[in-house]
Symmetry: C2
DNA sequence: AGTATCTAATACTTCTCAGTATCTCATACT
DNA sequence: AGTATGAGATACTGAGAAGTATTAGATACT
């Protein structure tokens, strides 16, 4: 016998309701983790943010760590894609490097809580190898995406990668994260275009000034 | 009347004893913070590690945060110095970059807990601006030390810095930290000499292979 | 010598939070 | 309709930790 579930607008099936609860919890968790940090975020606060209670959390996730992983898994999918998706080989390398560099720095600045959370997670990973192992695939995937885009677009830009794509991706990613940290620690000390400038140096494209600029001057501090 | 304090070998004056206690606490704190992380390190554990009790901590420091800051202040002094002090302009740039790069990567690997602690502190700084402000001077000083060494040694190496020294220092530091993080997340994914290679690219010194190496091959994975 | 002072130990308070046990009530099934 | 199921609420437990009050005992001062 085939059962036909009658659907009224806000009359959800159990499965749907649960999925919705789960989604609300994950959204709330993402916000609270970003706001408070990994350790300081309490499950009670997350539940409250979602308009639910801790019971809902433990009905949907095995533990706090489990919830974190679920949140990460979802968040991790979109991150890199946003930036690489915008690569446009009809512009010059110079333009494109500046755009991507600026976009990267801007996004980490405006979503600072996410950067902070990522730092904490990295530290946590360093102390909990099994946690790290559960993230490694996603991390490699992100790198591969960067590598693929760079490899694919290099000919269009008329340049050659000075390193194998994967290594280039690692360097790029590392530099971006490192500079974000520098900027976090000393916002005024890091020029906005430093990322792009450094990248172009590696590509062998020397700066706009043919000769050396003085170490101090009218340039932005 | 002048008081002469009699000194027997292990008979310390009050002041000395207190200083010694403080030093023992800071040493223990450094170890425990590194081992457990910022939040997970308990004052009881630190006290125990020092062979003392929490009373000793609160007699010497106002709060946990105060203790952290004291530890950092001391630890921060030696770090950078170790690496820059070894710069030797009698070697070639290539050699020297490789040495410094390898030394940096090796030191962050073998003192991994310190890297993790630094990450947590950075995240903490991002959420507590007044804490960050108390670190900013030290951070700038470290950068200046790197910048000075690079600026001073560049002529000896017969090269020119492609960027103002301070910016060069920022990029170098950022890249080092970023690569350390990459290596932490995926130890096998990061070649040991990638740091040096990237640096040399920025200096405009192209790799040992005149032509491009394939993206995969007999190289370690 | 006798007293004051201050370091660090002891013991306690207060609080936060992850995780659990239990219960309720809406949905699903028969 | 009546019963079974399970999502989520409520209330609790237990661990652990920061910080405090008090005290003991050694050192310094007179």
């Amino acid at each position: 016998m085939i059962t036909q579930t009658v659907r009224v607008a806000d009359r959800l099936t159990r499965e749907e309701k649960k999925a919705q609860t789960r989604a609300r919890l994950m959204e709330a968790a993402a916000a609270v983790f970003a706001r408070r940090g990994l350790a300081a975020a309490s499950l009670d606060e997350i539940a409250e943010e979602a308009g639910l209670t801790k019971g809902a959390i433990y009905s949907n996730f095995a533990s706090k760590e489990d919830l974190v992983l679920a949140v990460l898994d979802e968040a991790g999918r979109e991150r890199i894609h946003d930036i690489t998706a915008d690569v446009d080989a009809s512009r010059t390398v110079d333009e494109e490097a500046r755009r991507a560099g600026a976009q990267f720095m801007a996004s980490t600045q405006e979503e600072l809580p996410l950067l902070l959370l990522a730092l904490e997670l990295t530290a946590y990973s360093g102390r909990n190898p099994e946690f790290r192992d559960r993230q490694i695939d996603r991390h490699r995937e992100s790198l591969r995406e960067i590598a693929d885009v760079m490899e694919a677009s290099a000919p269009d830009f008329g340049i050659e990668l000075p390193l194998p794509p994967r290594q280039m991706a690692i360097v790029l990613n590392a530099l971006g994260i490192g500079l974000s940290i520098e900027k976090l620690l000393d916002p005024e000390g890091v020029p906005d275009d430093l990322f792009a400038t450094a990248i172009m140096l590696m590509y062998g494209i020397r700066g706009r000034e043919p000769d050396r600029q003085p170490s101090s001057g009218t340039a932005p501090s």
